[in-house]
């Protein structure tokens, strides 16, 4: 068996091993790639920038579960850091029962980390109930989206911790979508499309989304039509957003997505190399077999 035949019969375990090496090694050596600023990422960033500080809160829905948190949680963290650093108020919610635990966990962690940084730098800290609020899981995704359009406080009578939403400073004078500058849906499914149907088309609410790379191709048309004001695409979108927050606000914290971009690039290069090599090997082996007949 020659080299090309051996390559054609290469076991998948070897490919897994090589992928693991391509991912693990760059994590130890910090290779930093120049980060771009795609228009879709800028759209969301600029929309949040345009909100007046300490005014009406924007809404962020964690419409994902742990299976896609690797791509979507870095987006949530970056957006929260941006909101906290620029004094933008935010309401967090989830349309999935599994997502609400993630929402609470990620938000508390980012708030704690931001407050440690703010105290050290002598800046304003963030306070639960004033600067951010976590809303509880409410069933019936489309019904919830429509219900927010009628009355936010009837949809969420209490917050995640059981406080009456009427008593929270963050939600003061917030009645429905008219007061919510933008709604962001972070999802690994088609939920952002439902937000367009029930919040954008019905109530003219501005919608943005953060989606997994695998579903990104489905969402680009909505960005083009203006139904989304911005969109973060997979880990790359999260890294671009982290980079924007780092450049403009210099908030302390681990930039998970930026760190993840170098292993991602190495793994992609390896896959491209293997696809080319696999095709060359296929044709050479085919030619050799034809000759030997």
């Amino acid at each position: 068996m020659n080299f090309w035949e051996k390559l054609s019969n290469l076991g998948k375990k070897w490919i897994y091993l090589m992928i693991a090496i391509c991912v693990i090694v760059p994590l130890f050596f910090k290779f930093e790639f120049k980060m771009g600023k795609s228009p879709s990422t800028m759209g969301l960033y600029n929309k949040i920038e345009s909100i007046a500080p300490d005014s009406f809160p924007f809404l962020m829905s964690y419409d994902y579960d742990p299976s896609t948190q690797g791509e979507l949680s870095p987006m949530a963290i970056a957006i929260l850091r941006h909101a906290f650093a620029s004094h933008k108020r935010v309401m967090l919610m989830s349309l999935l029962p599994q997502g609400i635990g993630l929402a609470e966990g990620v938000t508390s962690r980012v708030a704690k980390e931001f407050n440690e940084y703010a105290i050290k730098e002598g800046k304003d800290t963030v306070v639960y109930g004033t600067d951010y609020v976590v809303l509880p899981f409410t069933p019936g995704a489309s019904a919830v989206m429509l219900s927010i359009g009628e009355s936010l406080k009837n949809t969420f009578v209490t917050d995640y911790y059981g406080n009456l939403t009427d008593t929270l400073e963050c939600m003061k004078n917030v009645y429905n979508y008219n007061q919510i500058p933008v709604t962001i849906s972070l999802a690994g499914s088609s939920v952002p499309k439902s937000w367009i149907i029930y919040a954008y088309t019905r109530y003219n609410e501005k919608i943005a989304c953060g989606v997994t790379a695998v579903s990104a191709a489905d969402f680009y048309p909505y960005l083009r039509t203006g139904q989304f004001v911005g969109m973060l695409t997979g880990l790359r979108g999260a890294a671009e957003y982290e980079n924007l927050v780092r450049e403009n606000y210099n908030v302390e914290g681990r930039d998970i997505a930026i760190i993840g971009m170098s292993p991602q690039s190495f793994a992609h290069l390896f896959i491209i190399f293997m696809i080319i090599l696999g095709n060359i090997s296929y044709f050479i082996v085919k030619k050799q077999k034809a000759r030997s007949l």
Partner: protein, 207 residues
Amino acid sequence: MSTNIWVWIAAILTLAIYSFLYKDNIIYKIAEYLLVGVSIGYTTAITWHNVIIAKMVVPVVDYHRYYMIIPAVIGCLMFTRFFKKVSWLSKIPISFVIGAGAGLGLPLAFQTYIIEHSKDTIAIPWHGGNTMLLVDAILIFIGVVATLVYFFFSVKHKGVVGKIANIGIWYIMISFGATFGFTVMARMSLFIDRMQFLLHDWLGLIH
């Protein structure tokens, strides 16, 4: 190295799931069944507290909103499916869901998916003489028409129709390629996340 017991449990379960890459084994099976069990248990608990208690028990008991019992009873009719003689009653909640869903969703979905996208395909943008936008719009228009022609099976794909359908195939293939590329990126991102968790949160080997 982490001293948090939950980080250790998560790390061991991550490794247990990845052990499948070598071969199917009992450790993988335990982790898999644990995931299914915990997910269902967690969802049930959240649903019980946030739906049954918060949306039904509290309004009725604390605020005396007795009319809330009506939707609850209609919802419970779904369970009649388990009893053959009265299973027809389950059609009542189903009809509510389908009726309300279709009534609310159809006009909005038509506006969202058909009207807005057709408008965007037909309109040629010319913002400040940006030729790239124009090229973009023309390519999209050709792609939409050619792909629709490819799926039009009432006419034989010969001559002009065949040529346009061929262009449609190219567009579909390019779209498949883009989707496959994005899929690789997505799967790799999830793996990178787990590796960051193991090497940073668990072992503390990277910063």
